[in-house]
Subunit: 180 residues, 4 copies
């Protein structure tokens, strides 16, 4: 199980809620902000195709792709996933053309979860974000096995949002079923 | 009128459709990929607040904010706006705290439009992207005055999608009314 | 607290889940299928305005409007609320013009919840239904205080969907906070 | 080509816009408000299954099902399709079990369009309605070939909304391509 963190802050609400939801489980954390991931240069339609990019994406993806369960943990920034995680996902287009990776086949056998925390009515206003992940996973053939929406704004606020905490406990049960 | 281009390619379908839609009109183009815009470092809740970032964002925003009409022109990447434009929008959080900018007040008097082009059933699957822009503009008090969804995948495909072309002509009429 | 049931079946999954979520609480149930509610005849724009309709709607609404908390409990039929409950909601247009009712003012001081159960990936595919309720409550000024999405298809299936049951328990806690 | 009108008024904005969009084309109109269509009685899971209902649905569906192109024309009532058309669609569940009808196979070879007119920012707030139709057509295997959203509130307002009129002209071109 791999967790892809899209936050810009350390120990933010999304990270806190995710760790709480995953307590007692084994997983590998990838803090995307600590990797150099360039925005995609869309070369899908050039003769040469994608070229090697001098950043951390390829190596990162080669680690991520080993995991059977992927958890996308992103704060709600401006009603969408963070730019950090979006940049990462945009690069999937490159992975699709990387024959050594077997990306689509491998993604098609994974399960994915989304954890997101927002401050402005996220249980409604993060729904487009959830729908976008559904389209992403539909495209890659990945099973979208569940999502968790937390509500918090200032640091540590998530700990005092009892609804978010309870939902994290429920999310954990769902996740445990998928890892048995 | 300012156009914020979120594409990674030059002369891509989004740029082509946008230029067609704006033919004969005066506007300033900002190709976001040509600016250094770091991902937000969310310091909203630290004592010191946001600190000066060594990139092009501040200067860019100071130019953008002068324009009364903003057009966000982004390809549909993985069912959302591009990472390049998302990174830019994430930084609005910093602008909100920049008292010298008067961001929210100024955004509250602007009109915004969205132009987006996708390859996979965008008139349905780009709707969450449109809904997110609505939430963004609701938050900033900006009038969301219209959107244009084009359909194309490979380079130059947009020119042969008659529906996209016709819709661009209609979009231009709407835009012209708002600039009279 | 009033519960508006939109099901066509007695003892269906929506009813079961709703009763479970509300266990131990006091509420009045309205089974909409047992009332004669004609489709709206849109006379908003006629000189005479709406005319008295020979059905149960007016009396029903006069009872419903007394309650401070409204729970809309509807199965997901074809990815939307049931026709039975939609017919009822469409008639709100008539109530808006009924000066003796003071509809908008009263709705503006209520809290509303939605409980819905569907068989086909409802935690994703019922999201447009949830968004529609948000728009409805935005219009009437009603606080949309929470929603519960259950998953079940055949009769009694909801009892064996542990996720739905857990979520109902969480929903109850949220509801209890709003009724304290 | 069959047009299913969900309006409660005659000569309303939805009807006007639809007729304009279809000018010069051949089609059969079904005004659903003039048919007796009971709400579904969900008997999918009873031993006996669905029973003959004493209303106009079966006969209506037998006529509708002959047409290769279906146009669902509904006003936006409370951010969704009208109760009249929702009641009709809910009955599809019955048709699915009616072996003499071959419903799913036939729907799977049709193309569908949606025309809807609303008064409150419909190009944004009717998007959940459009997404629901997408799910409906996904389920029935029907191609969702296009949609038209008009903006109007009071009677005849649609005629003076130039954007709606232009969009109707564009819609007609799309439709014509599908009927060639």
């Amino acid at each position: 199980m791999a967790v892809l963190f899209g936050s810009s802050r350390d120990h933010g609400n999304t990270e806190t809620l995710t760790k709480l939801a995953l307590e007692g489980m084994q997983y590998t954390s990838f803090y995307l902000k600590n990797y150099k991931v360039n925005p995609i240069d869309d070369l899908r339609h050039t003769k040469s195709g994608f070229v090697k990019v001098d950043d951390d994406y390829d190596e990162l993806m080669r680690e991520v792709i080993h995991h059977e369960i992927l958890i996308f943990a992103t704060p709600v920034y401006w009603y969408g996933m963070s730019g950090v995680i979006k940049k990462f996902i945009d690069r999937f287009s490159q992975s699709l053309r990387d024959e050594s990776l077997n990306f689509k086949d491998k993604m098609g056998r994974k399960k994915a979860f989304v954890i997101t925390v927002g401050g402005d009515n996220p249980r409604i206003k993060a729904l487009p974000l959830i729908q976008q992940f559904q389209y992403i996973f539909d495209f890659s053939g990945t099973e979208f096995a569940g999502y968790l929406i937390g509500k918090a704004n200032a640091p540590h606020e998530i700990q005092s949002d009892s609804r978010s905490i309870s939902d994290a406990m429920e999310f954990r049960k769902v996740l445990q079923k998928h890892t048995e």
